[in-house]
Chain length 294, copies 2
DNA sequence: TAAACATGATGCCCTCCGGGTATCACTCGA
DNA sequence: TCGAGTGATACCCGGAGGGCATCATGTTTA
């Protein structure tokens, strides 16, 4: 196998067609350059230059090999640059998981800020519920999640994106919509309820149960995604507790009513990521977004 | 700058994710391999592998650099192969000049033989009169010519392709066409004549003058290309002496009549090339065509 | 919980590769 | 015919890189 030095030497001689001048260009003397070319020709197995004690010219094989040599040198000089770009985080891939509701609120501005500052970072997006995001982050299939609590603060670092109110989704024209006041526990005593899964959507389930004593006999559906809930409300299957950002989903035939609540804006959305960051693009993105100091 | 050995080492470690096994695969011991990778990382300017005293894994930059490294190695191993193919003549470029008439006779079979034996040799074809071919061969713009004498036998080597008769081209329905015998000098005493240029088509000019005493007052046109002559005959501008292969040009409105001649088939076509062959593809083609021994 | 094991990094030695200087061999032009 | 120009060769020397022995550290096992 030949070396990059030999290739550089050959290119110089091929361009100068003169060993002395080529050696000067390479900041070396002529003899080692001669031997370099000899070694290269031996390694390639073909005569590349025709030397005539008076002039030097390329052989047919030499012309072809010159092309390849230039290609090799170009590739070799580009490779470290791209590697460094990726190591520094200015280039690379960021895999982001997000919930359906966050997709309509915070995701857009967030992506805009990332792409404006880090234009060479590719972004993979996946709509996932919080549980799937946590699994993805742990397995390394995801770099960043936009998810709800709870998550293990030993493993994950996080940044609170926003808090929002819980509202009641009802079909258009529902009697409760005419009340023009905050909905209370009593209003819901006999309403058919579309409820969050206590396992898949634990966060919402717990929140609702803390806010309002539920008549479990009223529950007609148990689902895990906000979008599914709103769709079922639109289909007049019942009413549902959803975060305020669900109003942005744009589903027709649904109205959103305020709820009487002791806590202001109890629903949280966090950006979360594993504390052991291996993706430089993530590190840089977190700094860009001011989620992390240093 | 890094070396190919470092690249090969990195690829091995990246594939094995284990320094010991990678070293074994490379027929070396583990310590120098470790240092090779360190040198490579220093040269690249980025950490490529994350070592953990227990396991090895690629960094984001390492994954990207692995692609480039594989590309480099592939290119580096292909380059000598193509160079050798060209040096051996099995691949490359052959630039052939030919006269219009030879294009309709010998050129086809000749090309067929070359491409059948040397399928990877590209062929450039140019229709040129003998003088232009000789200039092209001398300047190195042409490798092989299909031309007429004379040419300098000191400079050019040659191979006689064929000899052919001279015939008289006359417009269809010309009185001479009805004679049904060889045409003699006397038949042409008053015929308007389309004659070869004494400079551009010296060979034909001399041949004709040797065969038949020309009435120079009868010459109505002086041209250098056979195809032009036949076209002018078709346009009834006169009669012309052309080689037998001109019958293959397929020009309508022209008949070809035999000439009384002392010499059988006086018109020669040669393959010619400079004695100093630099194009390996030419050397191999000449041997393939049996134009040259060894 | 301590000892054996596994694995990458480091220290040291030695060989060989590659660069430098001096010189040769060959050709061309005055 | 001789000197200038140019690529190849001889010889020397320093440094790069490989091998062996060993260290540092984390994991497995008894």
């Amino acid at each position: 196998m030949f070396t990059f030095d030999q290739l550089a030497g050959f290119i110089a001689v091929a361009e100068e067609l003169h060993f002395g001048r080529a050696a000067e260009r390479l900041n070396m003397t002529q003899p080692p350059l001669s031997r370099q070319i000899q070694k290269l020709e031996k390694a390639v197995g073909a005569e590349l230059l025709e030397r005539d004690n008076r002039k030097v010219q390329l052989t047919a094989a030499g012309r072809a090999f010159l092309d390849e040599a230039r290609r090799l040198m170009a590739l070799a000089s580009r490779a470290p640059v791209t590697a460094r770009r990726i190591a520094s985080g200015r280039s690379g891939l960021l895999r982001i998981g997000f919930t359906a509701a966050s997709g309509f609120s915070i995701l857009g501005p967030l992506l805009e800020e990332i792409t404006a500052t880090l234009p060479d970072v590719d972004i993979d997006l996946q709509e996932l519920v919080t549980g799937e995001q946590i699994a993805g982050l742990l397995s390394g299939e995801l770099d960043l999640g936009l998810a709800r609590p709870p998550f293990d603060n030993e493993i994950f670092d996080s940044h609170l994106l926003y808090r929002e109110a819980m509202v009641l989704a009802v079909p258009s024209g529902h009697p409760l919509a005419g009340l023009n006041r905050d909905i209370t526990e009593k209003d819901l005593r006999d309403a058919p309820l579309i409820m969050h899964s206590s396992t898949q959507a634990r966060y919402f389930y717990d929140l609702v149960v803390r806010m309002i004593p539920i008549q479990h006999s009223n529950v007609v559906h148990t689902v895990s995604q906000i979008l599914t809930m709103v769709s079922l409300v639109a289909a007049k299957r019942g009413v549902a507790f959803v975060p305020h950002s669900a109003t942005l989903l744009g589903v027709h035939g649904v109205e959103f009513l305020p709820l009487e609540s002791s806590v202001n804006d109890p629903v949280e959305l966090h950006a979360i990521w594993t504390r052991t960051i291996t993706n430089p693009a993530l590190a840089l993105a977190l700094r860009t977004l001011d989620f992390q100091e240093n």
